[in-house]
Amino acid sequence: MSFTLTTPSGFWNPLLWLLFLALFGIIAYLIYSRGNPSYKKNTEQAKPYLSGNPEPTKEKVQVKAGDIYWGFIEALKGYYKVLQAIHTGDMRDYILWYLGIGAIITFILIGGV
């Protein structure tokens, strides 16, 4: 059995890819091993520096899902306004979309376009 998947424009061999991944892993480890050896886990070193202010509770520093990609969603506000308006959750709208798309597809198939 061949491990190489031949595609119309090239090929894909996952084992070869893994070999490269291992090679890059070794290079990454070598760079990592040259890091600062004085770093100690679970000491004062590991605590965040907040200009002398006390560290907030874990719940407060947690980045919420709603905050992630805020900028992206804000930039596409207009697009999302339309998209979310379409998702009404109303069953009657579901059926209307079905009927509308059905009419368009049938129209195209019978040679209307």
Binding site: M1, S2, F3, T4, L5, T7, P8, S9, G10, W12, P14, L15, W17, L18, K58, E59, V61, Q62, V63, K64, A65, G66, I68, Y69, F72, I73, L76, Y79, Y80, L83, Q84, I86, H87, G89, M91, D93, Y94, I95, W97, Y98, I101, G102, I105, T106, F107, I108, L109, I110, G111
Partner: protein, 517 residues
């Protein structure tokens, strides 16, 4: 025994479903019973696939003196209920049985706190019967019957947690959508029966004359199956249903959705394959629906805060890849040079993506179910720091997320690569949308991973532990499949996917009742 395999595929889960209520109030026993029955169907489907791949199309005529007797003496048209199993049907049957088994295994612990589990498992096995019937039948009316069985069982399972208002609402919505789609399918079947006096797929395909009424029937069938498989903009029921259904039912429900996709392919390729000019038009409609589905699905997923709803939108998005891959193949079906150059590979990408997606999306929905099981919430804003508490769930999630985003060497990559390369040949714009969708998919799963698993451990989850073993085993099996299918894509492509694609392309073979008529 081998010649009765198509019938046994239906009979075994049907027997399991009808006997499950006998285990009332014996919840452990009914769970084990469902695992055994679905496990047997996995073995049967593998035997069936082996038989079909080696021996060609299998025909099973119910009630005939011999199961292979399509035309008894004196008959010129097939009249009995008939199953016709080609490699595409066998491929779908394996997906259905495997996911029903995984679903039953996961449910063993996941729904142990619920009541009425004998009904739950009865419905699960009935859902399996519906899916298997849809993919094995060679008869349009039976396709409708099994579509109804799957629709009713699926909607009852969506509303299974009826103490939640949202579950009941989602169940009713799914029921209505299924009923409307099924009725339109029945109407289209009526149109075809009125013209050709027969319900056999192969018989109608050989005689279809492609007049305006036929095209109306094709339009109705196409739209109904597109709605049932969650193509945009008829996808609205999917997030409701996938979010509310217990996570153990997500895998078979996904396959039920893709059984409709199978029906869409079967109608487009087998039933109307001889429409030389208009088939390219059907292919373009399918490809454009695919692009819309993948892009709108993923952008809607990005803004969700409910983990299962987010993943449900991804399920919609991934359906777009399958529609695009097979749509590209359908567009060039009657152009032999383009079909050989990229059409066949495009279809292989689309069909391969079906099984890949069933595996990793089931895995992801199960990890979401595991998070819900442990935290009691699906709101990502309320989760955090769970990676250390639930390491296997976290790793399973990472594998699933990498696979769905198309990262090498996981299974999603190989199928997406085929789709990218081949859709580019038809129109580069199609590929641009497909690749942007993959990037956005990865982005939204980074969001889930960061908010649910990373970050400081929250006090409220201090006593949290990993989910019970059956749930862990089900997740590990699927994660392992994501890796195996990714490392050895040729194994699946050569043994299952290309035979399935060739079965769709070589429609003349299907039309001749497997060479028996």
């Amino acid at each position: 025994m081998i010649e009765h395999l198509p019938a046994l595929m239906i009979a075994v889960p049907l027997f399991g479903a009808f006997t499950a209520p006998l285990f009332k109030k014996h919840y452990k026993e009914v769970s084990i019973w469902a695992i055994i029955i679905t496990g047997i169907t996995v073995i049967l489907s593998l035997l069936l696939a082996k038989e079909v791949v080696t021996g060609g199309i299998m025909v099973y005529v119910f009630g005939a003196d011999k199961p292979t007797l399509v035309l008894p003496s004196g008959y010129s048209v097939p009249i009995r209920i008939m199953f016709e199993v080609d490699a595409m049907s066998a491929f779908m049957a394996i997906s259905a049985t495997l996911m029903s088994f995984i679903g039953a295994l996961y449910s063993y612990s996941h729904v142990e706190r619920e009541t009425g589990l004998e009904k739950y498992y009865t419905l699960l096995m009935l859902l399996e019967v519906g899916i298997l019937g849809m993919v094995l039948t060679g008869d349009l009316f039976n396709l409708f019957v099994f579509l109804e069985i799957a629709g009713i069982a699926g909607s009852a399972l969506v509303g299974f947690r009826n103490y939640r208002g949202e579950a009941s609402e989602a169940g009713i919505k799914y029921l209505i959508v299924s009923a409307v789609a099924s009725l339109m399918v029945l109407f289209a079947i009526g149109i075809l029966y009125g013209q050709y006096g027969n319900l056999n797929l192969a018989y109608i395909a050989k005689n279809v004359s492609f007049n305006m009424v036929d095209m109306i029937a094709l339009g109705l069938l196409f739209t109904s199956f597109a709605m049932k498989c969650g193509a945009v903009p008829m996808h609205y029921w999917v997030p409701d249903a996938y979010t509310e259904v217990p996570a153990g039912i997500n895998p078979p429900l996904l396959v039920a959705t893709y059984a409709s996709l199978y029906a869409l392919f079967r109608v487009s390729f087998t039933l109307f394959a001889n429409v030389v000019v208009d088939l390219a038009r059907v292919g373009w409609i399918m490809s454009i629906l695919g692009v819309l589905t993948m892009f709108i699905g993923v952008t809607m997923a990005l803004v969700q805060k409910d983990i299962k709803r987010l993943m449900s939108y991804h399920a919609i998005s991934q359906t777009g890849y399958m529609l695009l891959g097979v749509g590209v193949g359908l567009t060039v079906l009657h152009d032999p040079s383009k079909l050989a150059e990229f059409g066949r590979d495009a279809m292989a990408g689309g069909v391969f993506h079906i099984i890949n997606h069933i595996i990793y999306k089931s895995l992801l929905l199960m990890t979401a179910g595991a998070l819900f099981y442990v935290t009691g919430t699906r709101n990502l804003n309320e989760m955090g720091g769970l990676a250390r508490k639930m390491p296997i769930t976290a790793i399973s999630f990472m594998v699933g997320a990498a696979a769905i985003s198309g990262l090498p060497p996981f299974n999603g990559f190989a199928s997406k690569l085929l789709i990218y390369e081949t859709s580019y040949r038809l129109n580069p714009l199609l590929t641009v949308f497909a690749m942007v969708t993959s990037v956005l998919t990865l982005a939204s799963f980074v969001k889930v991973f960061a908010s649910a698993f990373l970050g400081p451990p929250l006090e409220k989850f201090e006593s949290t532990r990993e989910v019970p073993k059956p749930m862990v085993i089900a997740m590990i099996i699927l994660a392992a499949l994501c890796i195996i299918f990714g490392l050895f894509p040729n194994l699946v492509l050569d043994k299952l996917v290309y035979p399935a694609v060739d079965a769709l392309i070589n429609f003349a073979q299907y039309h001749s009742w497997g060479g028996l008529a």
